[in-house]
């Protein structure tokens, strides 16, 4: 049995032992602090410097701002709703104005929970600590990181006033949807300034920094409301709001503005512009350089383009019997170019940017099918002296291909018409006639014409290139057809008019250069034939849908219905539309019939063009001086004989060209 003296001795041992341990702990802590302090990051002075990164602004051609990159609009505390300040303090750190960077009681409690209640987590970070973490440290969890964060928060507290710290905090926290800082968040989610937030909105925003993705109100509105309830409850607990206010606010459901769901631009056009900028200037300049970029985008046309593609693909879904739950569904792309300059007015790279950022307008290369024939017909007119009234036989044809099976192009309709004039052959998109022409011209000259017009993709020297076997992008097709629209004058397509540095000095600007690459008269003959495609040929759905302006174009459908195109133009605007599956797959209607460019792409084109041009006067294509029009029979190429058996076509001829000549024989 222990004597009282023994008990006292034990107590004495424990007491001195504890004192010694505490002493050693503090000694160790001091050494640790000095060691850790040497590796701490430097703090910017003043702290507000952290918000001074210049923002890059991208504008539409009209000067309207489209997007700001690296946006963080700083606002003074006085310009922020009092409700938001209270809400963020209540939910993040209600003793903010009392502590010096650390809430000791909360920290001890958190420490206790961490040590003795495994699995439970208790946060104890003050606003200052969160600021320190956001500014200087990675999000990797480690005790050393936490300790350094604490030391930095002590320094922040020592060198800045509480309001300066709070100002820095609310202007740099992330709220999700690409919104950093309260002003941007307020504008993104509610379309108003931070000073105009009411309690219901302020509490919702104050709940977001905990998990901007999980509580993103655009995507998870109910979760965001749940989180707002927690915020309001905390506000009531700390006495910022009354019970009644709590109840009435809970009933309010703030109305969100816009549809932006994350930090992405939400626009294929802007993505393409940013990619170009990064390639030329690097990411630092684009995201942190504060440059001003004036694009060629016509905002109104861009909106029409997005709507037309969405509507057209919805229609295509219906045609194919697909529902929104089906995967995959066909995609689409549209590029519209001003024929007078080459400026890209609108660009859509897919069905839904937020579903897939892959930009099919510029990154996807697909076979244009018959969409390539205008290059062939131009070449045939130019090199072989043929004209729209020249007669060629529509009959099966076999072309030998070195090292590969013979090429036997078939007509889409599977019927053969015998002798027909070239205008009808293009109007009806007759493949055998095209094959006969390319046999005579050779693929090289056709490729040359395509190159002159602006096709840059690799084109293989094979006969089938004339029937669109090589892959091209919608941007290339729009640009190349624009050369036809502009009487053979080529403009390089471009998306940026001007780039300025933050002080207004011009870094670069686009100069519109014209190059006459095709003969204007021959070009007009092809354009006249392409008008016929729309008026009575494979693109006649354009007229059936009510588009009555002078227009020319060409459909394109690949053999296996993988790709359906329509590229067409008026004298002022050239637009190319592609539809198809990302992974090559047949597009078939519910009835099992393959879907052509005339059915899938032409309606999108028509819808867009009708809207895009609705406020413009109708303009005819310019007819070159020496062009005359003659009516001929479709099968003989001669003047009408009086009978009503043959179809008649009005053909555009040059001064020296004669109708009713011998049939063009194959070589």
């Amino acid at each position: 049995m222990k004597t009282p003296l023994g008990t006292v001795k034990t107590f004495q041992f424990i007491l001195y032992g504890t004192l010694l341990t505490v002493g050693l702990f503090f000694l160790g802590l001091t050494v640790f602090i000095f060691t850790a302090a040497s590796g701490l990051p430097k703090l910017p002075q003043p702290l507000s410097r952290i918000i001074e990164t210049p923002q890059t602004k991208i504008y539409a051609a009209s000067g309207q701002r489209l997007v700001t990159l690296g946006e963080r609009e700083s606002v003074p505390l006085s310009m922020v709703s009092k409700d938001f300040i209270n809400a963020i303090l209540a939910v993040e750190d209600h003793r903010f104005y009392e502590h010096h960077g650390i809430n000791k009681l909360r920290t001890l409690k958190a420490l206790y929970i961490t040590l003795f209640k495994p699995g439970e987590i208790q946060g104890a970070s003050t606003i200052t600590q969160q600021l320190a973490k956001n500014l200087f440290f990675s999000f990797k969890k480690s005790y050393m990181r936490k300790f350094k964060e604490l030391l930095v928060s002590f320094q922040i507290e020592s060198t800045n006033s509480k309001n300066e710290i709070l100002h820095a905090y609310i202007n740099q926290i992330h709220f999700g949807a690409g919104a950093q800082g309260i002003e941007k968040a307020s504008r993104t989610f509610f379309g108003k300034s931070a000073s105009d937030l009411d309690l219901s909105e302020a509490a919702l925003l104050a709940g977001l920094p905990k998990s901007p993705t999980a509580y993103n109100p655009f995507r998870h509105y109910d979760k965001a409301l749940q989180r707002r309830k927690t915020v309001l409850r905390r506000m009531r607990q700390v006495g910022f709001i009354s019970d009644k206010k709590f109840e009435t606010t809970l009933e309010k459901k703030p109305e969100l503005s816009g549809t932006k769901t994350d930090s992405r631009t939400g626009s294929y056009f802007l993505d393409a512009v940013i990619r170009k900028l990064v390639r030329k200037y690097g990411e630092d300049v684009v995201y942190h350089g504060g440059i001003e970029v004036y694009t060629t985008m016509d905002k109104q046309l861009q909106e029409y383009a997005v709507k037309s593609v969405k509507k057209g693909l919805g229609r295509l879904d219906d045609l194919m019997g697909l529902t929104s739950g089906d995967n995959p569904r066909p995609q689409g792309a549209l590029v519209s170019i001003d024929t007078d300059s080459g400026a890209v007015k609108a660009l859509v790279g897919g069905r839904d940017y937020y579903e897939s950022e892959f930009n099919r307008a510029v990154q996807s290369y697909r076979q244009p099918g018959s969409g390539f024939k205008p290059f062939l017909y131009y070449t045939a007119f130019d090199r072989l002296g043929l004209h729209p009234a020249s007669v060629v036989t529509d009959m099966p044809i076999t072309l030998p291909v070195t090292g590969a099976p013979d090429w036997k192009p078939r007509n889409f309709s599977r019927i053969h018409r015998g002798d027909i004039i070239l205008k009808k052959a293009l109007t009806k998109s007759v493949n055998t006639v095209a094959a006969r022409l390319v046999k005579r011209t050779g693929p090289g000259p056709v490729i040359e014409t395509a190159r002159l017009c602006g096709i840059k993709s690799p084109l293989e020297q094979v006969y089938s290139v004339a029937l669109g076997s090589a892959s091209v992008s919608p941007m290339e097709m729009a640009s190349a057809f624009s050369t036809f629209a502009k009487e053979g004058i080529r403009h390089d397509p471009f998306m940026i008019w001007r780039i300025e540095d933050p002080f207004g000095s011009v870094l670069e600007e686009h100069i519109v250069q014209e190059k006459q690459v095709l003969d204007p008269q021959t070009t007009f003959q092809v354009v006249d034939m392409m008008q016929s495609v729309i008026d009575r040929g494979s693109g006649s759905s354009v007229r059936r849908l009510g588009f009555d302006r002078p227009a020319a174009g060409k459909t394109g459908t690949t053999d296996n219905f993988n790709d359906a195109w329509f590229t067409g133009f008026t004298p002022t605007l050239c637009t190319s539309v592609w539809t198809g599956f990302d992974k090559r797959k047949i597009m078939r209607s519910k009835n099992g019939v393959g879907i052509t460019g005339g059915r899938a792409a032409a309606p999108i084109w028509t819808d867009f063009m009708a809207n895009a041009l609705k406020n413009q006067p109708k303009r005819e294509f310019t007819i070159p001086e020496s062009i005359r029009f003659v009516e001929v029979e479709a099968s003989t190429g001669c003047a009408p004989s009086g009978g009503d058996k043959d179809e008649l076509y009005e053909v555009a001829l040059k001064e020296n060209q004669k109708i009713c000549q011998e049939k063009e024989e194959e070589n």
Binding site: Q155, S158, H288, F503
Partner: protein, 290 residues
């Protein structure tokens, strides 16, 4: 001397434990702890200490990285703009197209004032001015309603001049070859070209043989007035294939052009002839051809 020993009794232990010293230490410790909770002096002390070491600490962490990127972007842009300023200054000070071409590297560009351009253009010799653009066309271009500004871009072998309208569309594009400019600068009167390239010779280009036959038919003293400095032509390599007479007189002289061919390269050499001698030559040429 004080003797240290274990307290023999519990009372002694208690007395020693609750001594004034011990109680003072305990009270002070409690005050110390309470004061820390109340006044945060420990954090304050540490914070102030860290503030004194701030300047010597590294600029690391997310915010500094962003700052570095912003600063690198700023420097990059500053470089571009200062190069542009230097180019602008160079162009403003330049007194000839050659000087501009020498200071404008490929890819560099600058807008040039219309008045400055006019001045440089007027200082060009007629054939070169003609080669850039016919003076009459130039008058309309510079004084017509379409021109908004003139843009010059450096190229590997010279400069390119763009005449732009308000929509940034090129109304006229002219290439000036550095070699050509240099030749003129050195008062060399030959240009690698053929006579047709100069509108001033239109309708007055003759094959070399009939031209010289007509020259030979001039009185001997008139021949000297026609080609005052024949050494220019004698020094030129190759053979003369054609000759031309300029369509206007200036200060009593009319320009004559002789097209040489040397190793398949065509070159035009300019000489000045007395107005009246050239008129006489023209008459001879007409008579010869009729």
């Amino acid at each position: 001397m004080m003797q240290w020993y274990d307290p023999p009794t519990v009372n002694e232990y208690l007395r020693r434990t609750f001594s004034v010293l011990n109680i003072s230490v305990l009270v002070l410790t409690c005050i110390f702890a309470a004061a820390e909770f109340r006044y945060n002096w420990c954090e304050n002390l540490l914070g102030r200490y860290l503030a004194t070491t701030n300047q010597n600490r590294p600029e690391t962490g997310a915010i500094w990285k962003t700052g570095e990127m912003a600063s690198s972007a700023k420097n990059y842009l500053k470089d571009i703009v200062s190069k542009q300023k230097a180019t602008r200054l160079h162009v403003q000070k330049s007194e000839s197209f050659l000087e501009i071409a020498k200071g404008l590297m490929p890819g560099e560009w600058i807008n040039i004032e219309k008045e400055h351009f006019k001045k440089l253009y007027l200082e060009l010799s007629d054939p070169l001015a003609e080669k850039i653009l016919n003076p009459v066309k130039m008058i309309w271009l510079l004084n017509g309603p379409e021109l908004d500004r003139i843009f010059i871009e450096g190229e590997q072998k010279g400069i390119r001049i763009y005449f732009l309208n308000t929509a940034n569309k090129v109304l006229k594009r002219v290439h000036l070859d550095m070699k050509l400019l240099d030749q003129f600068e050195k008062k060399s009167l030959s240009i690698q070209a053929s006579l047709e390239e100069f509108d001033g010779f239109t309708g007055r280009i003759y094959k070399a043989s009939p031209f010289f036959r007509a020259v030979m038919n001039l009185p001997p003293d008139m021949m000297g007035d026609l080609i005052g400095n024949p050494s220019i032509l004698l020094e030129e390599k190759g053979r003369i294939v054609r000759a031309g007479i300029w369509n206007e007189a200036k200060e009593g002289y009319i320009r004559l052009g002789f097209e040489f061919v040397h190793e398949s390269v065509h070159k035009v050499v300019f000489v000045k002839g007395r107005e009246w001698a050239v008129w006489q030559l023209s008459i001879n040429l007409k008579e010869g051809s009729s």
